[in-house]
């Protein structure tokens, strides 16, 4: 399978195999008018299989959301056909409006304007809890 090189854009590499579509939907890539390629189950020396997303334009990415959804992703910024910047993600300490609190007793269920904020409580097990009610993110 051959997918052309991009001149100015973003390549999201090392996406856990099978997670590409989740990231595609979460980042709202379906709304872009430029070319976007989602490659599933590409061969990877490091991972065995991986997903890759190529975006033919430089857009603002919510790095915290990306880090929460798939911290192993590598973000490559391409300019003039060359790699301009490579960023390895980390698990974010705090995420805002990435996921919603599911606790029916949480104040966020009745106050629609409140941002849904979660903080990392257990790095080893990647446990996030709601800032307000401390319910575990599901």
């Amino acid at each position: 399978m051959i997918i052309g090189q991009i001149k100015d854009g973003i390549v999201l590499d090392h996406i856990t195999a099978g997670h590409g579509m989740t990231l595609y939907n979460f980042l709202g890539l379906d709304e872009l008018e430029c070319q976007v390629a989602l490659i599933k189950n590409a061969d990877s020396v490091k991972m065995g299989k991986k997903d890759i997303i190529k975006i033919d334009r430089v857009i603002d990415l919510n790095m915290d959301a990306l880090g929460y959804l798939d911290p192993g992703v590598t973000v490559n910024i391409i300019k003039d056909g060359k790699l301009a910047k490579r960023e390895n993600l980390d698990i974010p300490q705090r995420i805002e409006n990435v996921i919603k609190c599911k606790n029916p007793r949480c104040i966020t269920t009745v106050e629609q304007e409140l941002p849904h904020i979660f903080t990392l409580r257990d790095r080893e097990n990647r446990v996030y809890r709601c800032l307000y009610c401390e319910s575990k993110a599901k």
């Binding site: 606790n103 007793r105 949480c106 104040i107 009745v110 106050e111 307000y132 009610c133 401390e134």
Partner: protein
């Protein structure tokens, strides 16, 4: 200014300081009678409460301050759909400190994020109730004279009881505290609390379904109510409910200096016959609640 939303926000040293002030207030109430003169406490109770609201109000009056507020959501603008943030911004212009109870978990935190005056969480649903924990700690200190080298038993509903979880968290910070968790299988302490408070801190705990077996070892017995609605079927409730009612007979094997506590209100989980036992401390707890709230109001208002 600083708020108090969760008991874990206070260090052990700060808790010790609050307890020392509360004890001094008990000994020398006159010294504190005008400490908050000219200050106003707003008690914003979005759901009914007897003890906590009156305790806060009594505490402020005993400090020479004044009180305003409401005791149910229906008598506030929240009944018209006003957000917590807007209510608090408004109250922030009328008061110097807020005590807030709300049925939704996290509401007092939202309040504290929207005002410059201190907010005290007076209970947010089943989540936090830090001044109850401070009350419990003051009672333990006054009755036992220490927090370390203690065996504390929690009995009843250990799954949903916020006062139990909060007191476990506070007591787990002291040395050589042994926890005895007495409950039916259906109402055991949640696994994540056991992991964070006992396993991760390498603390001793025992789980049992028998109050009688646990009784002889206890220095403190913290009773809670086993509620009918927590059971999946009526038969289990009927089978178990009497096991967790404290009676004079069950106290026969207890230590002579046992301290019996309960966050109240009680329904039938402590027999009225136990009230006259010198080991019953639950009404002393109510009294202690006022004094520790006085100490806390002074601390948050930075009154010396």
């Amino acid at each position: 200014m600083r708020s108090l939303i969760d008991i874990q926000e206070l260090t052990v040293t700060e808790i010790d300081e609050l307890i020392a002030v509360a004890n001094d207030i008990i000994e020398n109430p006159g010294k504190y009678s005008e400490k908050c003169k000219g200050k106003i406490l707003a008690t914003l109770f979005f759901e009914p409460s007897t003890r906590t609201r009156l305790s806060f109000e009594s505490a402020m009056y005993n400090l020479g301050g004044n009180v305003l507020g409401f005791s149910e959501a229906q008598s506030s603008s929240s009944a018209k759909g006003e957000s917590v943030a807007d209510t608090i911004r408004t109250v922030g212009y009328y008061a110097d400190i807020i005590a807030m109870r709300h049925p939704k978990e996290g509401a007092p935190m939202v309040a504290s994020m929207n005002t410059d005056i201190p907010v005290i969480n007076a209970g947010d649903g089943g989540h936090n109730h830090p001044t109850q924990t401070l009350t419990d700690l003051l009672t333990i200190q006054r009755e036992k004279g220490r927090f370390d080298n203690i065996t504390i038993g929690f009995c009843g509903d250990l799954k949903f009881g916020r006062t139990v979880h909060s007191l476990i968290g506070a007591m787990s910070r002291y040395e050589n505290v042994k926890f005895v968790l007495i409950s039916p299988e259906e109402l055991k302490v949640p696994e994540y609390i056991k992991q964070t408070e006992f396993v991760a801190k390498n603390l001793q705990y025992i789980e049992t379904t028998s109050l009688e077996e646990a009784m002889p070892d206890l220095d403190i017995l913290y009773m809670t109510r086993v509620q009918r609605e927590r059971f999946f079927n009526e038969q289990d409730y009927i089978r178990l409910k009497d096991s967790y009612i404290l009676t004079p007979q069950k106290l026969e094997t207890a230590k002579t200096d046992l301290c019996i506590m309960h966050p109240l209100p009680r329904v039938n989980e402590i027999s009225v016959a136990v009230d006259s036992d010198p080991r019953a401390c639950y009404f002393k707890q109510v009294n202690n609640g006022k004094f520790i709230r006085m100490a806390l109001i002074m601390k948050l208002l930075e009154v010396k």
